[in-house]
């Protein structure tokens, strides 16, 4: 079986995989990083989104062997080592942008990439369109959009602290 060497959440790993093994299967089954979820089998739901070399990728739609030499970031690697949440994680909590939590890891990883790709800032409409690849069945997206709109302010350095949700 082929071996694939890559960096996952900052740690170098080498994993023996089948040719057909998907990145998400390697993450979940072999590295036991179960924060990345599988919600569909047609690349529609985005629960499996991780970052590969800084860009969001549906890890159900890329083979593990394609990730040789890459840097992969999953939801487990997002917070600072001291546990400080990424502003996007913090915003999701502050704005109640999650309910069952199943779509959340993929939603957060997509949202971070979306914000990073748009340093000029995004309107609510653009955030909604930018979430085209992620499904949530619980929230109606309302609070997800608000959370991303708030997080981008911090991520772009326009505010030090996350704007609080109105009570």
């Amino acid at each position: 079986m082929p071996k694939v060497s890559l960096t996952v959440n900052g740690k170098p790993v080498t994993v023996e995989v089948e040719n057909r093994t998907l990145l998400v299967e390697m993450l979940r089954e072999q590295l036991r990083l179960t924060g990345t979820h599988v919600g569909c089998d047609t690349s529609q739901c985005g629960a499996c989104v991780v970052h590969v070399n800084g860009a969001s990728v549906k890890s159900c739609t890329i083979l593990a062997v394609q990730c040789e030499g890459t840097e992969v970031l999953t939801i487990e690697g997002l917070a600072a080592p001291d546990g400080t949440l990424h502003p996007m994680q913090e915003a999701f909590r502050e704005y109640h942008a999650l309910q069952c939590g199943f779509c959340t890891p993929g939603m957060v990883m997509s949202a971070i990439d979306l914000v990073q790709r748009n340093p000029q800032g995004l309107s609510d409409r653009e955030i909604r369109e930018g979430l085209e690849g992620n499904l949530c069945r619980c929230t109606g997206y309302h609070n997800i959009v608000r959370a991303i709109a708030a997080a981008q302010v911090v991520m772009h350095g326009k505010a030090k602290e996350l704007p609080r949700a109105v009570e």
Partner: protein
């Protein structure tokens, strides 16, 4: 630490684990020496199994075993039970054909499980499953209600000729007929309620384990009600005594009703784990979810509303055909009957109602509860019919509703369809919604949209629903084979922290936060001192789980009752410690105080005394501080409200954009407004999904055409607007918290508001009604026909 008690939008405690990838969903659980199961499913809607050749699969790499329905039948494994028996009009019981775990003899829907392959790895199991050869005799299928009721239709079950499961009715036919005979006008409507596929984001999963040393079985499963699964699977399917069976529902990624039911795969992995003496895991692919999770809705209805000359409702007559799918799912029979026809009074004083419901087997996936379960079907019918009535009477849609509302001084209000509403103020939710939605200035927005070339419409729905299921004796008399109380066990630890074991289950609702707020409020302790435990039959007393927006109304009431018992006992301990009479002890803000003095003991001091009873009234009081309460509700609760939707239609494409949505709901007392708003917004999004996008499609042969997320349109972020949510509270009068329930109001109230808005936008095209979903294709055809008609004139 800010205020954490009732009414505070406390941020959720469960979020940290979900946001950092540390949630433990069933598929995240991996047991030592675990094997993997893949289910072989029927590709046919209806076929006889002439033979199964599993030899090539059995010899495939990594395969441990292959089992078929015959293997299970040989061990006398029972069929999946149904938890509710509905009776026919003549009093005879419904048809209740067997529902084998793995198909025996024939299959009845695409996705019906036929065999299971267990292998060392999932890819090996999947590869081997491909090698199973089944000799099929394909039979003609009855894929829709109409097809199943045709004379000479194929019989889904050979012993249920005509495919009718039950023919049921409710209400006073004579009174209704008399009212129609003297009606000034009759509004009529034929409509369907589109079949939906729930699609919780987490696909179902089950892990079974058997310990040969003890004989204990454990099942981890994606369930809303682990005790119900333990009872049904243990007692009716696998014959495992309950004390040897533990069912755990860990973090569950959404349910919406679809994870209430006892599914075949739970029994398969548990049974296989026992046979093979190894843990066995099965995880659904989304494709499997589409063809094996219970679907929702699927009604075809004719309804008539009789009115007097002032637009007052005299009587309602309803005939509904309900699709049950191929087998009776766990609670299927109650959904189109007691959760549907009992709601047909709506918020109106309609004095006479008669409903007939014929429930039909078809060669499709079983149909059961999906968010709202019966109440969305009732609400859509009533609210659409009221709009039609307004049209026929030449009345304003708001005015006809006002004229027929149950007035706020009429409670308790007995409807003609069995329910007694305890409280409500429908004028107030209406008024507040009209104001918030700027109903009065809508025509300006319509004109402004017209200048942009858009057709703008507004729709309204004033709904009611029934939650907090349910008084056990009442539902028992209606056919429920279960009690529907809830349980709470409160364990005060020696140092004064509190562990609450609840029989409800949280799969997105945020109970770990809300229930902790409730405890913080009752005991005056910080939330950090409270732990909420749920979802494990080894830890929690026998509880009924979460569905029907019952958790706070029933489960929260049990917590209150258990709290009361704790406080009563703690007061006696405090009285002893303070050398005072128990009648003089007050408990407030976490302190037991002798009234009118500064002599006090903290909750923690009293707790410690209970567990270190050195100075303790040991002759009259047991040590310890732990209490259990089982709460059986006195009635259903009745959330109600008003939803207003505004849409714009692009006449070129027929595309509908929901531009404004306003919901004002009376959900009773609100514990955490942030969570309530989130529940309503999520429910409304599902309601918009039903109204505009979602529908399950079978072809005539019973093939599931909408079998993936590429074919079944789930609402995405750019399909829904910001959803403006308000509450206007009247308290429930019969539970200790005054709460009603908020989980389903969105999915119940929204669809008729959306469709009302679409119809209003198309008012110049002669449209009275559009069945859901109002897709752009459907609307474009209406617009195109209108344009052609205009061109011809």
């Amino acid at each position: 630490m800010g205020y954490e008690g009732i009414g505070a939008s406390v941020r959720r405690r469960e979020d940290l684990r979900f946001l950092s990838g540390r949630g433990i969903y069933t598929d995240d659980i991996n047991r030592p020496h675990q094997a993997y199961a893949v289910i072989v499913r029927s590709p046919h809607a209806h076929a006889r199994i002439r033979g199964i050749d599993a030899s090539a699969a059995r010899s495939a790499p990594g395969v441990i075993a292959v089992f078929t329905g015959a293997d299970m039948a040989a061990e006398k494994i029972g069929g999946l039970p149904c938890g509710w028996q509905v009776k026919n009009k003549d009093g005879t019981p419904m048809a209740e054909p067997p529902h084998p775990v793995l198909a025996v003899g024939k299959v009845r829907h695409v996705g019906d499980p036929v065999a299971v392959v267990v292998a060392e790895t999932k890819p090996q199991a999947r590869d081997a499953a491909e090698r199973i050869v089944i000799d099929w005799e394909v039979l003609p299928a009855a894929a829709t209600i109409q097809a199943a009721l045709q004379p000479g239709a194929p019989s889904v079950h050979d012993d249920v000729p005509g495919n009718v499961c039950f023919d049921w009715h409710l209400g006073d036919k004579t009174a209704v007929d008399a009212a129609f005979a003297r009606a000034h006008k009759v509004a009529r409507l034929e409509l369907s309620n589109n079949r939906l596929i729930p699609n919780a984001m987490e696909p179902r999963c089950a892990v079974g384990e058997y310990d040969p040393a003890t004989g204990d079985y454990t099942l981890w499963t994606t369930s809303q009600n682990p005790h119900v699964i333990r009872l049904l699977m243990g007692a009716f399917v696998l014959n495992i005594p309950e004390h040897k069976l533990r069912v755990v529902a860990p973090d569950v990624g959404g349910g919406f009703g679809s994870k209430i039911h006892h599914y075949a795969e739970e029994a398969i992995v548990t049974w296989a784990a026992g046979k093979l003496k190894r843990p066995v895991k099965w995880t659904a692919d989304r494709t499997e979810s589409f063809m094996s999770d219970a679907h929702g809705r699927d009604h075809v209805t004719e309804a008539e509303l009789a009115l007097d000359d002032e637009g007052r409702f005299l009587a309602l007559r309803v005939r509904t055909l309900a699709n049950l799918g191929a087998y009776l799912s766990t609670f299927a029979p109650c959904v189109p009957t007691y959760l549907y026809a009992t709601l047909l009074a709506g918020v109106y004083t309609t004095p006479a109602i008669y409903a007939e419901v014929k429930a039909v087997f078809t060669n499709t996936v079983p149909v059961d509860a999906y968010r709202g379960a019966g109440r969305p079907e009732a609400t859509f019918l009533i609210e659409r019919l009221v709009d039609i009535a307004a049209l026929e009477m030449g009345m304003d849609r708001v005015e006809i509703r006002r004229r027929n509302f149950i007035p706020k001084d009429a409670f308790p209000y007995q409807t003609p369809v069995a329910l007694q509403y305890d409280s409500g103020d429908y004028h107030r939710t209406l008024d507040e919604a009209l104001k918030a939605a700027k109903w009065d200035t809508f025509e300006q927005r319509r004109a402004e949209a017209a200048r942009r070339g858009k057709l703008r419409g507004i729709g309204i729905s004033t709904y009611i629903e029934a939650c907090g299921i349910a008084p056990s004796a009442v539902v028992g008399s209606l056919g429920a084979r279960a009690g529907l109380y809830e349980v709470a066990n409160i364990r005060v630890n020696p140092t004064g922290s509190i562990t609450v074991f609840t029989g409800t289950h949280s799969h997105g609702q945020g109970h770990e936060t809300t229930f902790a707020q409730l405890i913080a409020d009752r005991f005056g302790v910080p939330m950090s001192q409270v732990e909420i435990v749920h979802g494990d039959t080894a830890k929690v007393p026998f509880g009924m789980g979460t569905y029907g927006s019952r958790s706070l109304a029933v489960g929260g009431s049990a917590i209150v009752r258990a709290s009361d018992k704790i406080i009563a006992k703690a007061k006696r301990i405090a009285a002893h410690l303070l050398e005072a009479s128990v009648e003089d002890i007050e408990f407030k803000n976490g302190m037991f105080r002798v009234a009118g003095t500064d002599r006090a003991k903290s909750f923690a001091e009293v707790s410690l005394a209970a567990y270190v009873p050195h100075n303790y009234p040991i002759e009259e009081l047991e040590p310890g501080l732990e209490e259990t309460a089982f709460y059986d509700p006195k009635n259903f609760t009745f959330p109600a409200g008003c939803h207003i939707c505004e849409v714009e239609i692009d006449p070129e494409t027929g595309e509908v954009e929901v531009v404004n949505f306003t919901a004002v709901d009376d959900v009773g007392r609100v514990i955490n407004p942030m969570i309530v708003e989130g529940q309503v917004q999520g429910g409304v999004a599902q309601g918009i999904g039903q109204a505009l996008f979602e529908t399950c499609v079978y072809d005539e042969a019973g093939q599931l055409l909408s079998g993936s997320m590429m074919d079944y349109t789930m609402p995405r972020a750019d399909d829904v607007p910001y959803i403006q949510v308000g509450t206007a509270v009247t308290l429930c009068t019969h539970n200790p918290l005054g709460v009603k329930g908020c989980g389903e109001v969105g999915a119940i109230g929204a669809p008729p508001a959306v469709i009302g808005a679409v119809v209003d936008a198309l008012r110049d095209y002669g449209v009275r009604h559009i069945d859901m979903p109002a897709t752009s294709h459907k609307i474009w055809r209406i617009l195109d026909a209108g344009r052609q008609r205009l061109a011809a004139e």
